[in-house]
Symmetry: C2
């Protein structure tokens, strides 16, 4: 009879599948987006998060929180996107430590184009998933993304 260790725990496999699913999809969808819309997936995330936010603007730290990067990482990411003229830095009038990031005109256009491309890809990815399955997955992931390790 084989010894049972932590290595056999099913939770390990479930989490491994999350990592693998993310890795594979991110790679494939990222390539497709880059090829068809000309921007990396990270940029798309930034454009989308800003586009969906209250007042269409996000502070650097709010953006970092949403895209799950460090503040230093976001500073550099936004630098590159400003270089590409897709976003702008706008000073916050009430707190001079804060910078807002907003979309430029070409930024909005890029968001719209990239979203169209990405949605088509996602339809393919989820082709074989039923509506109830999709809703279940969405709900489970929504709960999962809120989890904090104490």
């Amino acid at each position: 009879m084989a010894q049972v260790t932590a290595v056999d725990e099913p939770l390990l496999t479930t989490f491994g599948r999350l990592v693998e699913a993310h890795g594979r999809l991110n790679k494939q969808l990222g390539r497709s987006l880059e090829a068809q819309a000309g921007i990396p997936y990270t940029w798309f995330e930034v454009l989308l998060r800003i586009g969906r936010s209250e007042g269409s603007r996000l502070s650097m730290s709010a953006l970092a929180e949403q895209v799950v990067l460090t503040s230093g990482g976001v500073t550099r990411l936004v630098d590159r996107m400003i270089e590409a003229e897709l976003v702008q830095r706008v000073p916050c009038p009430s707190d001079r430590r804060v910078w807002f990031v907003t979309l430029t005109e070409p930024g909005e256009a890029a968001l719209s184009r990239a979203a169209t491309v990405h949605v088509e890809d996602l339809k393919q990815v989820f082709r074989a998933f039923s509506e109830p399955d999709l809703r279940r997955l969405d709900t489970l992931l929504d709960r999962l993304r809120e989890v904090r390790l104490t």
Copy 2:
């Protein structure tokens, strides 16, 4: 009446949640693993994949496929782990282009320790999830990780 664009597509949100859930959990669990077991999550993945494989060995390319990295990325990853004496490169007798990676004695020990730590963390993460929910999530992720974009 607001205009409906691709930006409003629910699939976009579902995939965004996958990315966010992965990002958050990976960051937290990675820190915990590094702090308590002394190895990065990527190393744990490598150890686990090898430990679970037929004959407890994997070729470089099989490893790359499983951990979703490029072959160049895996070469460097394995280099670091050899440096730390957790794995070994073993030549394939029947095909001299191929190198197998196997666990060393300390590698097996590290796998076992890290798995224990990681499983405890995962129990916390999934604390609020019922057994049926866990099974559903596992099944959905398993299907998702197989998807290939045509």
